[in-house]
Symmetry: C3
């Protein structure tokens, strides 16, 4: 029984796997987005990265820093989701609820990136997308604690 939980026959695991894959691609894309901004604004953090002897290391370009803040926000929120989503799957939750929680995290984190680092949108769009993913992740963590504690 429990063994079936980590196979693609389990719709909860299948959904978790799909969204984890999508969010890994999204996170890796942040590195490329940072690189694009670095070349556009000629903002390089290491002497060995400078393309021309006329350039100097630079740390405070607002476009580069914006992408880096969005990327760090991913580290803070998506990476804990990877751990807790897998453990939540292993608690054998209701498929309907679990799949919609994974969707909520996946979609809201993509929206978060778009409105933070691609096309800046006035608040509270970013705050809302941030809190949808945070609340869904926290809910899963509470369920996991409850399953393990009793």
């Amino acid at each position: 029984m429990s063994l079936e939980l980590l196979t693609l026959n389990n719709p909860v695991f299948k959904s978790f796997t799909f969204w984890a894959g999508v969010l890994v691609i999204k996170m890796l894309a942040m590195s490329l987005l940072t690189a694009i901004q670095r070349f556009k604004t000629k903002t390089f953090a290491n002497p060995e990265d400078l393309m021309s002897p006329k350039l100097k290391v630079k740390f405070d370009d607002p476009n580069v820093e914006r992408v880096r803040r969005a990327h760090r926000n991913d580290l803070e929120n998506i990476l804990p989701f990877f751990a807790i989503g897998l453990l939540y799957t292993l608690t054998n939750p209701s498929a309907f609820l679990a799949i919609n929680l994974f969707r909520a995290v996946g979609i809201s984190r993509i929206v978060h990136t778009l409105v933070y680092a691609v096309v800046v949108v006035p608040q509270p769009t970013r705050a809302l997308s941030f809190f949808v993913a945070l609340i869904a992740t926290a809910y899963m963590a509470v369920q996991v604690i409850a399953a393990a504690a009793f």
Copy 2:
């Protein structure tokens, strides 16, 4: 046999799941702690976050930066623990040792946050809590490498 390792019938997995859940909640709380400090000190990193046209973006408030350093330290230490704790569980370790290692990581990381970002306590309290978790995580990693290499 191996299949039983990832069920709550396995006390090692049960303990890992509990502490992983607790530490995910702890990490998510860092975002709220950062937000509280940002509003208290009116330190916002993005123009679209400014609450009033009189405010300017600000990056160097010591209270905000302290919480952010504590949060980053979590990323550096708790997230690798999530990966290695699961793999260590799959090596079927002694339950007594494994459960106490997970407890050591969980409690010392909570202490680390409290003395770093909530009530600042003189060193070496933070250094000690940091090293307890680091050594426990490194020990699990060495056991995992040994199990996989031979």
Copy 3:
């Protein structure tokens, strides 16, 4: 069948476990490398860390910041690999391909650290090691998405 995937009898899981353990040790070593640079250059970020009343908090030492950038790059690239490597293992991939992908990530991330934070080497060494790991991780993520989507 699926249950066997997460045992050391599965050469793919065995290889993933080995490299995950090695990369956790490598990541934890970054904290020690940072500490060494902090003491060498007397660069401490918190008032309670200052060893002498003559010292002041300091944030911009280039040697400390270099190690911190290398460490952050690990968070951005190695931590997503831990999640996707496990899910990729659960899709039951070709052992030959999977083991070489894990090796590629493991070795290229060690090279990345060496040429970034230990002995600085001119580009494109660091860029190449970065992209080898990124492309291998992205490939696994695409395979995981494909397995889950169809």
